[in-house]
């Protein structure tokens, strides 16, 4: 393949649906009760990659995701939607990584996939909203970064022109390769799964998934090597362990406080016309409105 695109994607707890069932007595969230989803902006990133692939001959898309064993679901989902393959970075030693340590691990995985032309990621993950991992990975790989991308204006083997979404407008920028792109939620939505690909890759699995299912994977993999989703550990990445996990994370949590709500003496009203009338009158009389 002559043009390689690497998409960084993350599986996240669905913070948008923290219903009452997911709340514990002490007011914290029971993560286990939250569904794990494809981080929304990473789906926008995948779509952008697919559009670039559609307009460049011989382009391929590889997904890189870091997370627990079950995060392989993200890779399978991407393959169903058109990605060519993916790699799961998984190791207990990554636990406790902040954005700096995470970007170090991701950058090593991307290095392993050289040569590449583009690295594309969602702007931010909904469980943190930090938007730091994209730029940090770009810096580690010494790539220019085009953040908040909304659309591809033009693309060929030499360069790409993109539209960026800023706070107060847009910017059209052009860069040569290799480069890193982060994608904004205003970018086109990701295309759905492709039925043919679903049939072909239905059984794509990591080693651990096959073990869980008690399948004899040697035979299956020999027959259909494309069904293998490789797992990479710290050793595979040749990583400096000091730069991973807690030791590689300069940010430390000093403490976590439960927020005690400063209860105001609130006035409780029903939605009867007379009570709302009295409230509106009071707001007018005290010059809060009007």
């Amino acid at each position: 393949m002559s043009f390689r695109i690497i998409v960084l994607a993350k599986q996240v707890p669905d913070t948008r649906n923290v219903g009452k069932d997911a709340m514990k007595e002490d007011g914290t969230v029971n993560r286990a009760a939250l569904p794990a989803i494809f981080n929304p902006e990473d789906l926008n990133a995948l779509e952008l990659a697919l559009r670039i692939k559609d307009s460049i001959k011989d382009a391929e898309i590889q997904i890189v995701t870091m997370g627990p064993f079950r995060a392989a679901e993200i890779i399978r989902e991407s393959i169903f939607r058109g990605a060519d393959g993916g790699f799961l970075i998984t190791d207990r030693k990554f636990a406790g990584s902040d954005t700096l340590a995470t970007s170090y691990a991701l950058s090593l995985a991307v290095e392993k996939l050289r040569p590449f032309d583009l690295v594309i990621a969602g702007r931010q993950a909904i469980d943190g909203d930090t938007a730091q991992v994209g730029p940090q990975t770009a810096e580690k790989l010494n790539l220019p970064q085009i953040t908040y991308t909304e659309d591809v204006i033009a693309v060929d083997e030499k360069s790409i022109t993109l539209k960026r979404r800023l706070e107060r407008g847009i910017e059209i920028v052009k860069t040569s390769y290799p480069a890193m792109i982060t994608v904004h939620s205003s970018a086109p939505e990701c295309r759905p799964r492709n039925v043919k690909r679903m049939m072909k890759f239905k059984h794509a699995r990591t080693v651990h998934e096959l073990q869980d299912e008690n399948k004899d994977y040697t035979e299956l993999r020999n027959r259909c090597p494309y069904l293998d989703i490789p797992e990479w550990t710290v050793a595979d990445l040749n990583a400096d362990e000091v730069r991973l996990g807690l030791s590689g994370s300069p940010t430390k949590v000093k403490k976590i406080d439960n927020v005690v709500l400063a209860h105001k003496d609130s006035v409780s009203l029903t939605n009867s016309e007379s009570e709302i009338e009295a409230l509106m009158k009071e707001l007018i009389d005290t010059h809060i409105v009007g």
């Binding site: 707890p13 914290t28 902040d98 970007s103 810096e139 910017e171 430390k252 009203l269 939605n271 007018i284």
Partner: protein, 338 residues
């Protein structure tokens, strides 16, 4: 002497951005707490007299990089400048606005310097930290809501420098320190700070609009949450806002559901507001949302759940359906408005 530095963002109108002025105000206080100098790095084009705008915030040193190629903002040249400058002057603390520029730039710098960065802090303080047998004094407490319910995390960077944080516009107060304060400007030689290929990314076109939505400046905000139910229903909130002379705001859940545009999101990762009146419609009151509105003078909550957490910080709680209550409010306001 220790130093605290603020990256001063330059607006389209060639002024220092409000968020940077807010950070300078906070930076001055932190600097006094740890007996440090307050410094600023200003990067742009045609910046004569820019120092006059910011001296009153109590700045001791301004590092000025003025070159036609430095505006509009591009990641690589700005990053090279800040990285090399920080290597030279080794700041204790570095603050950035959590804007599209600051959120693009700060992580790149933190990565190059291998230091810690905390996004979207809602409060910054100075304090100590103990780790095993070591005690670290005068660290920056980077305080922000954390994912996982009603919790706030205090984050520190004990070992690495600078201690970096981003803060949204409106979170800190803009306060002049001393109208006659005078520091010094250091005009920097750009060529000593740039890297090679820093101008690889070309800007072909820009379309910058005047600010459309200004909920930050509004004295009355009618905010809607996921409980409003639909884009269609949001129109009713718009109507109430118009009648009262206010603006419509929203929660992230309402924005994610597509009920309303992102510019109107209030909270930790949206806008911070302090209006005279905040009407929360169908909002549960997650800590990330409250971070952006709990300093409103009067809060009315309309919620069909008596136990919604937002009710605890409301002055008035109307128990009922948003679609039922809001029309009555409009009607009664019209009836009594003078």
């Amino acid at each position: 002497m220790k130093n605290i530095i603020v990256y001063c963002e330059i607006t389209e109108e060639q002024h220092v951005a409000d968020v940077s002025l807010e950070l300078l105000s906070k930076g001055r206080k932190l600097a006094d707490d740890i007996q440090a100098k307050l410094e600023a790095v200003v990067i742009g084009s045609d910046l004569q007299h820019i120092e006059k705008e910011i001296y009153p915030f109590g700045i001791d040193t301004i590092y000025l990089f003025d070159d036609a190629r430095l505006f509009p903002y591009r990641t690589l040249p700005h990053a090279s400048i800040v990285i090399n400058l920080f290597r030279e002057i080794t700041p204790e603390i570095a603050l950035f606005g959590a804007t599209s520029v600051g959120r693009d730039l700060a992580p790149r710098i933190a990565s190059a310097l291998r230091c810690g960065l905390t996004a979207d802090c809602t409060s910054l303080e100075i304090g100590s930290y103990e780790d095993k047998d070591k005690t670290f004094d005068q660290l920056l407490y980077q305080i922000r809501p954390a994912f996982g319910g009603n919790i706030i995390a205090t984050i520190v960077n004990p070992e690495t420098r600078p201690q970096m944080a981003t803060v949204r516009e409106g979170v800190m107060k803009k306060e002049v320190f001393n109208a006659d304060y005078q520091g010094q400007v250091k005009k920097m030689n750009l060529e000593n700070y740039l890297g090679k290929d820093d101008f690889q990314v070309e800007i072909l076109e820009r379309q910058i609009e005047p600010q459309k939505v200004n909920i930050k400046g509004s004295q009355i905000i009618v905010a809607g949450g996921y409980g409003v139910g639909s884009k269609e229903n949001f129109k009713l909130l718009q109507e109430l806002a118009e009648v009262l002379g206010g603006e419509v705001g929203a929660t992230r859940a309402a924005v994610d559901a597509g009920f309303i545009e992102h510019e109107r999101q209030i909270g930790q990762t949206g806008v911070t507001v302090r209006p005279k009146l905040y009407i929360a419609c169908g909002i549960s009151g997650a800590v990330q949302h409250r971070a952006g509105m709990d300093q409103s003078a009067k809060i009315i909550s309309i919620n069909n759940d008596v136990e919604a957490p937002i009710n605890a910080i409301a002055d008035y709680v109307i128990v009922g359906d948003v679609m039922d209550v809001v029309p009555k409010m409009i009607k009664m306001y019209k009836k009594h408005a003078k």
